[in-house]
Symmetry: C2
Subunit: 141 residues, 2 copies
DNA sequence: CTTGATATTGACAATCATTTTCAACTACAT
DNA sequence: ATGTAGTTGAAAATGATTGTCAATATCAAG
């Protein structure tokens, strides 16, 4: 967590941006939640301890956190972005339950490998990928 | 194409909905474009031949086309939905170029198989999945 | 072919997520 | 301490999509 803060500060410096109290607050609260938060989720969490921070700032800061390499955008097809931690977390894909919304993080190295092959076979230089398997989880069946 | 029209009509009947000229027009133009169209793309295409159709109708009709099983929603993370043909098209995944926006449809049965195994290993009953590999295509490198 | 119940339409307003604008404010190098 | 340049919150703007509603069209029944 202090490591993440340091990375963020360093990213801001390097980009000629400023380390403000609002940015620190948003980052801290983001780091405390181990969920896939939307900007609005995070805004609600932030509001609990600090009524002064506007939602535009939360959006702006999430972009920065992502740019700093501390978060990844995920999209469960809801029409809004969600963010998850990236630092100290290995890449993974998601199983998303269509009933209860629960997500399970999964990883299959064989799939990852095959995906890379598939892309390079088409001359593609991969930046990243997105795999979501949607269905009904065990407890919802 | 006539097959698709028939499926659509049958779907409307079965659902107690009406076969209107607007719906026929939107469907026809959708079937003519072999692209991943957004509602607004399609609205522009429709407007070329028929100025009378509103954008709300295009949105509504795309939903119906999807419900009829003739289209699939795809999401390239642009904050809007795109639709692609489903009838007579096998399932596939996408390579999306981040520079020119071009998409290549790909399929690897081994990946599909592994995905199914991965999900069932977690007790998941799969409804569908979404795989997009984002990167830079050959000609944009 | 007329009718009538019901679905549909387009225009417009509303909504939701996100971004922009802008004047007041703050960080931080000097 | 100070000036410059980035930052903030509030409010307005944007873009995609959906809801409202009065006028209109569909289609089964007579």
């Amino acid at each position: 967590m202090n490591k993440e803060r340091e990375i963020f500060i360093r990213f801001l410096e390097k980009s000629g941006l400023k380390a403000t109290a609002q940015r620190a607050t948003v980052l801290d609260i983001f780091l405390k939640t181990e969920k896939h938060v939307s900007a609005d989720d995070l805004f609600s969490l932030v509001k609990k301890t600090n009524t002064e921070i506007g939602h535009a700032t939360v959006h702006r800061t999430l972009k920065l956190i992502k740019a700093a390499g501390l978060a990844r955008e995920v999209d469960f097809g809801e029409g809004k972005k969600r963010y998850e931690h990236l630092f100290g977390h290995k890449h993974h894909d998601h199983l998303v339950c269509l009933k209860c919304g629960k997500t399970i993080e999964v990883l299959d190295p064989k799939i990852e490998k095959l995906q890379a092959n598939l892309a390079s076979g088409h001359g593609f230089k991969v930046s990243h990928h997105r795999l979501e398997i949607l269905g009904i989880c065990k407890s919802c069946q």
